[in-house]
Symmetry: D2
Subunit: 337 residues, 4 copies
């Protein structure tokens, strides 16, 4: 941690901060510059977490030099984490495809989809039973009934299943039916929920928030890991920018950045990122080439009648074509499908 003093800060103010640092058992290195003085803090910064150094009058700014996340940090855990979801492994040299409808609408819709995506080579079935929707008047999901259909789809096809959870009640219902819990973008900083999914011990798919920095995202993962649950998979799904040609802006750089900063697997959701069916194929190839560990692709038996996010869903034929098109790219990256 570096403390940058304001220009002309009095010797007195500098000493007061030095004493505070040392009183907390750390060392303070003072550099008197031509214009400003900087204080380098050496030692265990957690001892200072209750001190508001920025509030001292002649402090200009505090510059952090180490990340606040530890368990999700590659620095302290250099080997890539492999997360097991049912019998499917995510991370390492595996490439995993999640697929299914945005929202579970009926038993028939889900079972049909599960069979179709399995045939096309998908590994995990996704489906939303609790849907966060902008308007209270939009379809909110089948809730517990939807979870039962998820369980049935799993029994019929053998595919592990993942479902978003939005409350403790939803978690309690979901743990009985699904293999992995999803935290959606809007709940990425719902820290209460993060702790609760952490406690279940189930694998968690953590979507990036709409305006979350990568640093905040890894801190959100830290909330789950800190509960003793190491099974976190990150999912880049587009961030909010000024551009309106796509629903969100897929931050493809997040893939190599995460690979450099963390050991956690990362997958990409090109369906939500773009919101446009025609862009799912090129963005899927991009994600693979950037080094992603998997993809999450929306599919629906009849996208034009979907109750949620139809415009970005693929038909089964389109999905089958996609998985076929992607194979050579996955192989080129040295990954196993």
């Amino acid at each position: 941690m570096i403390i940058v003093m304001k220009p002309g800060a009095k010797q007195d103010s500098i000493l007061k901060i030095k004493e505070l640092i040392e009183a907390n058992g750390l060392d303070a290195h003072i550099s008197d510059g031509k214009e400003v003085t900087i204080i380098g803090v050496v030692g265990d910064k957690t001892k200072l977490q209750n001190q508001n150094l920025e509030s001292f009058d002649e402090v200009d700014k505090i510059v952090a030099v180490t990340e606040s996340y530890k368990l999700s940090n590659k620095k302290f855990h250099p080997e890539p984490t492999v997360v097991k979801v049912g019998n499917v492994e995510i991370g390492g040299d595996n490439f995993v495809t999640f697929s299914g409808p945005c929202a579970v609408e009926s038993e028939e819709q889900l079972i049909t989809t599960a069979h179709a995506i399995k045939k096309a080579g998908a590994h995990i079935l996704r489906g939303g039973a609790f849907k966060p929707r902008t308007s209270p008047y939009s379809f909110q999901g089948l809730e517990e009934e939807g979870l039962k259909f998820m369980k049935k789809a799993k029994e019929e096809t053998g595919l592990p299943v993942v479902c978003e959870v939005t409350s403790l009640t939803a978690i309690e219902a979901a743990v009985k039916c699904v293999d992995m819990l999803q935290i959606g973008a809007r709940n990425m900083q719902n820290f209460y929920l993060l702790k609760e999914v952490g406690k279940t011990g189930l694998p968690v798919l953590l979507k990036r928030g709409l305006s979350a920095t990568i640093d905040e995202w890894l801190n959100a993962a830290e909330y789950i890991l800190a509960e003793g649950n190491p099974n976190v998979v990150l999912c880049e799904r587009g961030i909010r920018t000024f551009e309106t040609a796509t629903r969100n802006t897929l931050d493809i750089s997040a893939v190599p950045v995460i690979k450099e900063k963390s050991h956690l697997p990362i997958i990409v959701d090109p369906s939500h990122a773009s919101g446009v069916r025609a862009y799912v194929n090129p963005l899927s190839r991009s994600a693979i080439a950037a080094g992603a560990d998997g993809l999450m692709i929306e599919t629906h038996p009849d996208p034009s009648s979907a109750l949620s996010d139809g415009p970005q869903s693929l038909t089964f034929e389109q999905f089958e074509q996609l998985t076929e098109d992607l194979k050579p790219f996955i192989h080129l990256m040295g990954k196993k499908i």
Copy 2:
């Protein structure tokens, strides 16, 4: 609702959509343009909510012409709403100041603050007992103990109190102690939580999400109103942009925009918006001049020892000076303090 077809859309596709619209009991007006055909949909759009018109193959885009929020919409409720918190009225020609520490740290800190802000003219005491923090290793709040201090501060000073809630458990504890519940920026689209605070019937202070559009914000308010709870106060607290000179970017235009689109009161939080103590005074004046119904200002007996957000907190002397400085602006806007 307007459906814009792709250039060269086949007559057949157009007719199929027209039939679907009419089959749902609405009217379709077709305009054949030189380049594209557009279909105006007339009637009750909620009947179409389960139809994914955007997924039809030759549809280019759907343009909404009416807002999805109804109860928070000024169009259907032209009179400004006045929300009562304890004996304090927010909205109309009242100007209300919320103040207090970011986090409740001790009984003494809170009671001292309550007395000081009351003396300076504040109307409502704020204080965080459940703190959403980016890192799991930062101070998370005193939780239920903090709520008890809030209650005590209220009993000692007569000031109504408001506290952020982050879970159903927190709501259940808070309703026994506070007069108003706050939904923080990170939970603005935690729809489950919105419904639960709606059900309590208590007044709700709804902060704008970090990257929430005004439309999404009013839809979030709609979730609360739709539970039969009309007591919602909006709080602009800065949005996330590329600028780093301030912690967030205060969207001052949100004040007149909300005044035009909604009947709900809106207050401004310059402390969180800027993150810098020196900007709280000019931004408070700005908010008043833009037409805000109130302010939320962070205060702390000793900002340099605050466990959360010290750099933006005012001392009691600074706060007293601020309320004094703001009075003529409030009067100029024709508001009662």
Copy 3:
């Protein structure tokens, strides 16, 4: 300047950087932290400007502790600058209103407007003769003919005039007709143009770029000042964000931030910031209350027939009402009109 090394950086790499710094005549203070080593650089950083310290292999990041702008920096020039445009003074305790049409369309339109705004109390006439338009098929301005109308309007009313310039040719034509040159948002980092307007010695109105940070904006001002031209007035006109309820997002915090970092005057353009006539009044009040030195307001004899930006232009009656409404706020801020 602080150099943060990567964790585990070799002693060798650290020494190499230390030697380079010292070889350039500066001092290097090394702090060995528990996790990382930081090097504080003390001395005249311009001596290092040709060294790419960030490219050294074990360097993690470089943190600047002093601003790169000097002439526009309040630190080295604490007194507020007052810029004279004709006989009008901008800055200090003066409050100045610019007004006029977005685009000069005809002699009659401009002269009528000039008389009307003068009567309503405006101090400077604005008008665009060279219009940067997104599409090449939109009206591009009357160019030199427009400048002649500006000159005539000035002669008839005595109001100083300001016009945007977009090329050296435009500058050469404009200096003969106008009192102040404007650099538009899209040209804020057209450094060639900045140098050229700097050389003219005429006062310059420098609009903030659509996605320019305040730091970049003051560096753009520095380009003009570095040509020996101290007469720069800044103009906040909204930045680009995700919000679409207003055309841009007025960054009201820019006013106090600029007042803290620079001695240059700053005015606000609520017309371009919001793009909506109804928001011009509340945003003007906000700007005054935030401490702005002036306003730029678009007016037009008949906004519905304006060739550019009609929706945000005020009629003369509306403008007269506005200037009347704003007077008490300007007085309250201790400014002279």
Copy 4:
């Protein structure tokens, strides 16, 4: 074009607009909705360009249904454009790599680089002689001397050369030395400059502005095309967002979006987009997989001594490795190198 009236708009206002539209030779289709009336405008919209329909009092908004760019629009020019730069073809099934230093620093640096990148398989040499820099005190480029080195490098290696131009003077000097002119991100909406490069007839590399929408970018291209110069190549180089882990956010979706909306070739610059050497390789693969027609990669004989943008430059060895690594991805996309 669709005109959406405000709720409760008077019949009179609607008729006035209808008459105006018809008076300009277009048709107006009126749809009376339950809440609002919409007017579909059918015919040649350019006839209405001098009418400010948005300024009419009861108009809520105008929705454009056709793009304002025509010459760059795929709709009217479905075949992909192939741009010839010297003997190199860009677009169609060609894949082209641009490489070279951010700034030309010396004859030796440039010639060495030219030989090295040619050996590694690059097709076009880039180099900056006129450098737009945030601070006036940073290295501004060798200007005309730099152009001479570019010409010499071309003569020695046979590689076509491209250089950014920032003024008419720069264009006049550059056309004598280089094969392609580059418009940098900061000048993307310098419409004067766009027209001037258009007039030269030379191929133009048009970088996307830092906060330019894709629609604005294609309109910028339209300025060049409208001068009779069809040789425009687009270059995605990252946009400005809130994320700070990378210098900019590479908008990879821009590649498929441009491929859908325009016939112009598009290349990607991962060096400027990320600002980090380690991300150049994964982002290059991503760009290829997304369908880009080429890449622009910064190289330098000794990045740690580069006068501009060292941290993102590759050494010759790294560049050679990169071109080798990318080959199978380029082949997989069916492109010729």
